[in-house]
């Protein structure tokens, strides 16, 4: 799987359990078995979703082996190299996760455990969950300050790690978190003195600045404090965002006709939500060959859930009935139903986005589709493609004008511009506002009531007829 300073990591299969494991092999000429065992003993005590599980430690004549949980995903370093720097929201989202892991690590033992090698290459992204790997330099506070050589990663290591005399403590790791946040948001490690670019969000710049102060005393004193600060930056949120983060949510996307642009809008929405720090999965629910085509032409990888990872998008392509895969761990599902509007509505999603073609010859189709969506009582938004500004659109009776949107032209749905961000923000606010969630239940209840009254009336008429 990879080779580092200490040794090589292999991918192995547990033959009995048929499960993957990561096996780290370190030569005894580099590190004696007892030193190596120290890493295993540190990890053994830790139980956190962001820290890999250690199963065993072994040795032979030449090597020591650490058998760990296999983690599937790219490092944050690779992520930024492939996709470019991340949005403010996504940086904060990952920052909170990282601060949470480090806070756990600092509080896990009787004395704090310091990682001392936090860097983007040691952070894996597994379905939008950060996992911290490589505890080769990790040590308790006491052991970390024993005399001897100190190691770290240039660009991420705190100034005190370069000096033998200065005491290392929790704030040494906090410095590294600051450099990682800077790397994620700008694509570069901070230069000293830290002068943030004018375009950088002042709140985030202030947090980074405080993490990477040269003097430890000026940094956040605990990872908990840093986490709270990052959470406060996240607080300025809309109702829609809160709903997207609180529980599971399914948004169905359907087109009034084939070729209306549903997939294009769906990809854009998925990328927008991800940039907002909301992990989501775009599922292809109709056989449009998008997944198969993407795999063939881009060589995008499939993971153990059968999901394709391409650029900043995660897609579950349409699979035949014989394909049996585990359910992927996502709370927010965007389901692309193509032109199958009835099926989309039949699955009772939390919200529907109807994509219509506004061309004159397709307006009747669009009108009928909008009527069908209104009848369903599910919160909805209607997006028109190919809608010229000066042209009027015919909308059914009872429809509110605020749910109709004109899609801006965007050739690459994987790149969300400012205009597109405003557009998607307006759409999600419309369909996910808390009041609309309440209204849906009201509508369902009203529909149920109406149906019952109608049934009773029919029964009454039948009885009268019989009499």
């Amino acid at each position: 799987m990879g080779t580092g300073r200490e040794g090589t990591v292999f991918l192995a299969v547990h033959l009995g359990l048929e499960e993957y494991r990561a096996v780290k092999r370190v030569s005894k000429s580099f590190l004696n078995y007892e030193q190596f065992r120290r890493e295993a003993l540190i990890l053994k005590e830790l139980r956190h979703p962001g820290i890999p599980i250690v199963y065993d430690v072994e040795e032979d004549e030449s090597y020591s082996y650490l058998i760990e949980e296999y983690l599937e995903g790219d490092s944050l370093y690779d992520l930024v190299k492939k996709q470019g720097h991340l949005s403010r929201e996504l940086t904060i989202f990952y920052g909170i996760q990282l601060a949470s892991i480090i806070n756990y690590l600092h509080l896990a033992g009787t004395t704090p455990i310091l990682h001392l090698d936090l860097q983007p290459k040691n952070l894996l992204l597994c379905h939008d969950t950060i996992k911290l790997i490589d505890f080769g330099l990790a040590a308790s506070l006491k052991e970390a300050n024993k005399p001897g050589e100190r190691y770290g990663t240039v660009g991420c290591a705190a100034p005190e790690q370069y000096e033998a005399e200065t005491v290392l403590d929790e704030r040494t790791d906090i410095y590294a978190i600051g450099t990682i946040l800077c790397y994620l948001h700008t694509g570069k490690f901070p230069q000293m003195p830290f002068i943030p670019a004018a375009s950088m969000d002042p709140g985030l710049a202030a947090v980074i600045g405080q993490c990477i102060c040269k003097e430890k005393e000026n940094r956040y004193s605990t990872a908990q404090e840093l986490m709270e600060q990052l959470r406060q930056l996240k607080e300025t949120e809309t109702d829609a965002k809160k709903r997207l983060q609180s529980s599971s949510l399914t948004i169905a996307l359907s087109g009034s006709k084939s070729g209306a642009g549903t997939t294009h809008i769906g990809i854009g929405l998925s990328v927008y939500l991800k940039n907002q720090g909301i992990p989501n999965l775009l599922e292809e629910k109709q056989d449009s060959f998008m997944g198969a085509g993407l795999f063939k032409f881009t060589k995008a990888k499939r993971d153990s859930y059968g999901l394709l990872h391409y650029r900043n998008l995660i897609i579950k392509p349409y699979y035949g009935a014989g394909v049996k895969l585990k359910d992927p761990p996502f709370h927010v599902h965007l389901m692309d139903w193509g032109e199958n509007l009835s099926q989309a509505l039949g699955m009772a999603p939390d919200a529907v986005i109807l994509v219509c073609d506004a061309s004159i010859w397709n307006q009747l189709h669009a009108f009928e589709a909008v009527e069908e969506v209104i009848r369903s009582g599910i919160p909805y938004a209607v997006i028109y493609n190919h809608w010229a500004i000066d042209k009027k659109i015919c909308i059914p009776k009872g429809a509110q004008a605020s749910v109709f949107f004109r899609a801006p032209f965007f050739s690459d749905p994987f790149t969300v511009s400012n205009e597109l961000e405003t557009f998607y923000q307006a759409v999600t606010n419309e369909i996910l506002a808390e009041t609309r969630g309440g209204r849906r239940w009201d509508l369902l209840f009203m529909r149920w009531g109406k149906n019952m009254i109608n049934k009773l009336r029919i029964k009454e008429r039948c009885l009268q007829g019989k009499g």
Binding site: F289, A292, G320
Partner: protein, 205 residues
Amino acid sequence: MKKFAKRGWKLGNPFGKVETPELIGIIGTGRGTGVTHFSVMTAGYLTGVMRMRCAVLEWNHHESFSRMAAACSCEKKGKNPFRVLETDYFGKAGIDTLLLCKKSGYHTVIVDYGTAKEGNLDEFFRCSRQLVIGSLSEWQIGEFLEFEKRGMKTEKSWDSLVSFGSEEARKSLEKRLKVPVRRIPFSIDPFSVTAETISFYEQLF
């Protein structure tokens, strides 16, 4: 048969117009190596995951497809051809069936040639992709070695796959033959495609 093949099913095609289907020949070095099982698995991957139109031809005398059709249709004697999970299966196939399939818009035609001892080797070598399945069980490894050595002499090339036998035996065989010998992942149900199967086929194709 013609009527069935023409009827077809939804033909969306991300791979361009189908001119000639890819012909994948699968043959075993002996009986019981799992050629039919593997043919069904391969078809399951190509249709279920890659969304290709796929046909499987039984070009041997084992009559497994007839029993499969009967099991699928709950009748004593099943139909021929028949369809399971979007794949078309043609039992008792020969050159006529192959020609029909070539004209029927399939992306891939998989041919189950049974064993190498049944006299189908010439047909097998005409396929664009050739997959040889052996078994490393102690009583079957001899047939596999014999086939591989014969191939080396004639300078033919194919992908070698094994279903049974130990990992040590597979590795030592790779060293001895100096060609990769892939292990087919264990699968109880050949109609089910799992994450492990997907990963195996992504490397194979």
